[in-house]
Structure formats: structure tokens, C-alpha cells
Amino acid sequence: MALSSLGQKKIGDIPLQSLVLILAVVVVIPWIMPNNYWIRIAGNAGLWIMLSLGLNVVAGFAGLLDLGYVAFYAIGGYTYALLCSGHWNIHLPFWLVVPICALAASACGWGLGFTSLRVSGDYLAIVTLGFAEIVRLLLLNLDRPINITGGPNGLPDLDFAHIFGFTFRTVTQYYYLVMFFALLVILASYRLKRSRLGRGWEALREDELAADAMGVNTTYMKLLAFGIGASIAGGAGAVFASWQGGVFPNNFGFSQLVTVYCMLILGGVGNIWGVILAAIILSILPEALREYGAFRMIGYGLLLVVLMALRPQGILGEISLRPKRKKKEVEEPETLKAAEELFYGDGSHDFVKPLKKGKLNKDRVLLELKDLTMIFGGLHAVDRLSLKVYEGEILSIIGPNGAGKTTVFNLITGIYPPTSGHIIFDGKEITGLKPHKVVEKGVARTFQTLRLFTNMTVLENAMVAQHCRTKSGLFSILFRLPGFLKEEERIERVAKENLGLFGARLTGFRYKQKAINLSYANRRRLEIARALATDSRLILLDEPSAGMNPKETEEITRFIRNLRDKYGYTFIIIEHKLNVVRTISDRVIALDYGKKIAEGSYDEVADNEYVVQAYLGRKKGRV
């Protein structure tokens, strides 16, 4: 048992041989460098690695364009300066001050994140830039009336780092200190990326709304990204201040921000090894090109423009060290493979979803809408809609375009809070809950216009769905506690079980394929698998067969029916193809202008006078 667990691939950690290699390089560098000048540059590279990996969490993983990042570096540096110098005559020990600096910066990060929660994209960039400017002005001007920051002169004569009786003085000693912290940051960001948090951030970056609808608490995840990024910058600031022996306003300016961003872009946003490599290159290159120093910033600017146009994925993007094996396409569009597999469970997959028989149970109401109303401006998109959905039922909603069908889904899943009315799921009120809370209760959905996390792999897409079912926090991820490892295993198993429902369409080599490379029909399938992987009981499908050919439509129809029969799901389906509606629905309701105009079996609804009118218009002469 012990042996087998040793032999297992460690989930989501840096491979041991890479770690050993990095350590060896780090240790050897001071011996092979010709002089202290180059050791200092190597140490600087370590600082830049820390800074750019910190930014990588905010801008790379979570996709938040934080232009105030360098302010946190400043906050860390100045906190160190205040707590470890003769300025106020406070001399705290180094091991205590670095965490304090990280925490101080982190607190500011949460603060900035909190004030800018409601803005995104360009607005976020400008607000954070404004924040950095405010911090810069404060640093420059807070020497009056009380001297806090030393104004333009900064704060010189800081303490050396002093740990357990050992004082760091020489360049080589500081080099090792910096590298120690840089390695910690590398390890931490590697582990974060391959965890539920990392996937949550990536989902947030790809599509905020879909991430929310799949159970990712986007508000919290944004704040967490700001906080972690800021704490890394703060820690780096403290180490930097200690090494330089002083802090000055121009250490934390626009040019530092630009440099960090260049490293991030050159390395490929989100790509840890790429960013590290870029940080090293951009630390050494300016030294090699010293005589052209005046043009350095112009070079950085051009680098940004040119890279964005020609190679936005960075130097290492999509380059694999190992040669790619050619994969065989196994798509067989002429057979009803996925549906057949469901019937017979061919056992070709390691992960078989456990069966749970389901059928319509009229005694149990799973979802109830009471007088649900949504008004946009003056338009009643949904008008006093009342509805019961029974456990194990397949309910279809039909109606002409603009009848309010998708709005009903948006209301149930919490994307809009309703103007009035109640939504009760499984006996509990869920009205007005945020989308990620609704998923947690057990309601998942797909989108009419596909909203996959297009740059994540098929497997990752399904794994994101487990976000709200898992709890591993920062601590257990960073220290890889047993609880975290168990959860990761479970996440992967559930994701594979649900992808396995679609047979080879979404399994095997497709696990590692990016969602953007899937065919249209497979994307629809992946959306369904992703919704199923949230472990929800009620699934809302918004036009599941849109854009599919008749064969595929037939397949997906049987598939949905099977999901109910074999696995006990309840469905509400918006569908325009009436043959689909006829085949699978237990009950149909028709909406027009936000009102329910008919309800009953397919035949009853199809023959209903109002429904015919809604679709075809009124006959002449009849009033």
C-alpha cells in the first residue's frame, strides 16, 4: 500500500526532479558568477521572479488587470522600513516583519479589491492605476506634518536581515535569502495553479458569469487573488528594502510596473515557467545592453505592442518540451455511440457514474415558482409565472422568441434577482441567491449561447463544476494536506464519470483538449457534462439541441431521457425543436410575453388555441 502510493503520480505538485534541478542551479550560481555585480543581478532576478509570479496570480490566473500592483510592493517596502530602522526606533526581528509586510500589503489588496469589485476590465485597470498614483503621492508627501515616509528622500539606513543570531550582510548571503523566498513563491504559485482555487480563477478569467453559474464565488475569488498577489508583492518589498538598506519613492514607480508586466507578457500570462524565464531574461538583458539604457523603456513598450500582436501567448506558450504524439480521431458520427454506451455501460472507461434510478414522482415538488415577475424598464419579461416541477420530471418550456424563457432560467439560477415572487427549491426559498449559491443548493444550467471556459481543457471544464462541492482553503492547498489530496482525487473522479457519459466524445485524449477546439456538438455535450458534474439534482438545459443535425439531435434527446431514467435527474428544458419536446417531455408549458399560456401534455399544449396563435398569429375575422 505504501509502495503503491509512493509510485503514484503526485497530483499537482512540482516534479521532484525539476525541484532538485532548480535548487542545484540556485546553489551553484554564486560560485560560477565572475563577481559580486553578477550575483547581485542574479539576486535581483529572484526579486523580479517573486514580483512577476505575484502579479501572475492576479493578472494571469484571475485575469484582473491590476495596474496598482507596484503599490503593494511599495507598501511592503515602507512597512519594513518603518518597523526595522532608527526612523521610529523600532527594530522588529526579520522573521516577524516579513509576514507583517505581506499581511499589510494583503490587507490593502483586499481593500482595493473590495472598492473595485463592481468594475471590471478597463475600469478596473484605471481604478487600480489611480490607487497606485494615490500611494505614490502619499509616499512623496507624507513627510509633513508628521514625517512618516521621508518624502522624496525616502527612508535610508534600514536594519540588515537578522535571523536567529545570523545577520545577512554580503551580496551572496542576501542572494540566498532572496532565492529562498523566490523558491517559496514558485512552489506556492505552482500548487495554487493546480488546485480548485487555480481552476476557479481560470474559470473566472475565461467567463465570469459562467464561472458564477458553475458555483465559483467570483467575488471571493477576486478578493483572494488581489490579497494573495498583494501579499507576495509586500513580502518581496520587505526583502528588497532590507537588501537595499533603504526605500525611496522611485523604487516603486511606473517603470517597475511596466517591467513586471513585460515579464508577465513575455513569459505568457498564467504560464509559471514562462514568467520565471522572462523575469530572468529581462533582469539580465538590460545589463547586457547597458549602453543603450536610455532606450530600455521604449524597448519594453515596443515589446508589449509587438508581443500582443504577434505572440500573445508568450515565449513558452504552447511549446511542449516533449514531442506530441499524433492522436487518432475516433469520432463516429453515424452511430448513436454515446446513447448506446449509456444503455450498456461498455466498461471501457475507468470511471463509471453510479446508477440511481429515477422516474417522475408526482408526490414531491422539487422546484416551485410563485408569481415570479421580472420587469426590465417597462417590459414585463416574466409576468406572474407560477409553476411546479416534480422530482424526476422532464418539463419543457416552449414559446416564441422573446417569450421570456431564458429569463425564467436566469431568474431561477440567480443571474437576475426577480422583481417580485418566490422561487422555492426542495422546500427552501432560493429567491435572490447569487448564482453560485443556487448551484450549491443543487440547480445547474447550460447556456443557449455556449459559455464554456474556452481556454481550459475538457477535463478542467468539468472539474471547475466541483468547486462548490469542495472546501480546500489556501492553507491545505499550500501544504498539501491529506484533505486536499483526497478532494482533488474526488474532483477528478466526478469529472471523469460525467464526461464518461458521453463516451469517447469527451474522454481519452479529449480530456486534455482545449474546449475551444471541440466541435459545436461536442461543446454542447461538454456544457451538459459540466452542469452534471456540479452534482446538482435539477438541470436546466437551454436549447440543448440547437445547432445539431438530426442524428445528433436524436442522440441528445435519448441521452437526456436516459439521464433521467438511469441517474435520477430532473430537467427543465427550453427547446424549439418540437419533435424533441414531444419525445422527452412529461409535461410542457408554453410562454408568451412572459405569461404562461398553456400547460399540460405535449398534445394538449400543441392543440391549445393560444399556443397556435402565439406561434402563427390570429386568423382573420376571429377575435
Binding site: I126, V127, E133, P145, V258, M297, M308
Partner: protein, 333 residues
Amino acid sequence: MGKIRDWFSYLSHFVYAEKLESMDQILQQIPQQLINGVTVGGVYALIAIGYTMVYGILFMLNFAHGEVYMIGGFTGWWVLHLLTNSSGGLLLNGFIVIILMILFAMALTGALGMGIERFAYRPLRNAPRMNLLLSALGVTIVLRNLVLNLQGAKIRFFHTSALIPKSIQVFHIGGTVISFMRLLVIGVSIGLMAILTWFVKETKMGKAMRATAQDTEAATFMGIDVNRIILLTFLIGSALGGAAGALVGLLFTQVDYYVGYVAGLKGFTAAVLGGIGSIPGAMVGGFILGIVESLATTLISSTYKDVVSFIILILVLLIRPWGILGEKAPEKV
């Protein structure tokens, strides 16, 4: 009323300890500050229009716009410098020099704006927004450091004293002083805005521009050359920003390579305040920001003048991100 006065004077003592002014002195300054505010506001409005026009069509924040403004300022300085002889006299009539300064600034920045669009933004039109913004950041850095390398970090002074006859340089109305330059800046900025409004409302090109802003794809199908319209948008927006740069040079008589940063943020704040995407909004936002800032300088302190506008920006974004004249658009799912 008395109470409010007491409170204000308490407040002004608190935040501006080294300059203990009585409330009456401050109140006396208000008409003067209003004039100053309208002047600066006109400039902010011109900058804001550039942001808002580009945002209206491409939904992107043209980060480099502040640098375009800065280059407009330098162009104005350069024209004035060329037309001034060694003894400080002018080679041409002062008013013609002013007109040339503004026209040259507009022409150069207009061309620059089109170049930026063509080479930095067009290749990224279908790329993620973050890439566009980073490319814009890159353009900002290039322009700023290009000027730094060509000009050095020193401040360039505009020798404006010879431009206008002594007799009309300053007007006194009551206790308020209005310089001719202020009137000129107000006049030119309002004039440019009037021309722009007419252009966008009445001409065929203006109509095409509005159509493109509403729906780029549909505009293409209606036979509008969208690329040309976008270039035109950058031309107009940048030229107005360049004019603002030259006007500020005339008003405050100096320019350096770093002015674009703060001016850009101010212009953006004005655009957001008025409702980004809306041209009248940018004008309204510019004037409001200018006036608020001038009053804040009197009541609080000039050291933190810029902080005041950042705080306004953040408050607007948090409370009413669609601005004064903008429309709230719900996210389509």
C-alpha cells in the same frame, strides 16, 4: 448658514494648516475659481471626447490618449519656438501664431492617433480585451520615453507674453481677474466642441460614425467602411486631445514629458463622469470635473488636487458607473 461657514472654516483649518485663511477670503475666491474651473474644464472635455469616442466604437480604453495630449503640447511649444526670434520677438502676428500652434498640434496628433490605431490596435481587434489594453500601455510607454529621449526630462516653457497685445492681456471684473488666454481657451474648446457636435449630428460621415458605434457588424453590412470610420474616430479624438495640449501650454506656459499621465487620467475621469461613450457626456463631465477640482483646490489643498479627482473617479465608478448622461445597460446572457 453661519453653522456651515464655521464648519467649513474648521474643515479648511484642519486640512490646510499652513495657510490659515478666513472663510470670507475663501468665499471671495469662488468666482475666480469658477472661471478657472471652466477653463480647465474645457480642456478636460476636449481630452475626454477622445476617450469617449474610441470607447463608443471599440469598447476600449485608449491608454495612450494622455501621451497624445502631451505630444500636442510639445508640438505647440515647438511651433512657438520656431516662430520666435532670438531676442524673444515674434516672426508673425501673435494671433496667427496661436492659430498655427493649435492647427499643427491637431494635425500631428491626429496623424499619430491614426498610426496608433493602425499598428497597435487594429491587429488586436478580435483579441481579448486585456491584450488590447496591454498594447495600449505599450504605446503609452513608447511615446512617453520617445519624447523623454528626444527632449530630455526638462520642462519646456512657452514664452507667451509677446503673443497678445499688453492692453488686452487681462480683464478685471469686480475682484475677479480674467486673462485673455483663459477666454481664448474657453472659446476655442467650446468652438471645437460645437464643430464636432455638428459633424457627428449632421454629416454623412458623422451618421456613419454613430451607426458604427451602435453596431459595428451591422454597419459593415450597410456598406460602411468600418476601418475608415475607426481611423476617422482616432483622427478626430486625437486631434482634439492635441488641441487641448496646445491650449494648456498657452494657459500654463509649460510642458514636460510626464504631463500626459495625469491629464489622461483627468480626461478619463471626465469621460466616465459624463457617461463613457457619450460625447455630450464627455463635455458635461469635463466642465464639472474642472469646476469641482478648482473649488477643491481652494477649500482643501493644492498638493492633493489630483487625489480629489481620483477619488471622484472611484466614487463614480462605484456608485453610478454609467455616468451622468450614459445609459445603464444590463448584461445580456
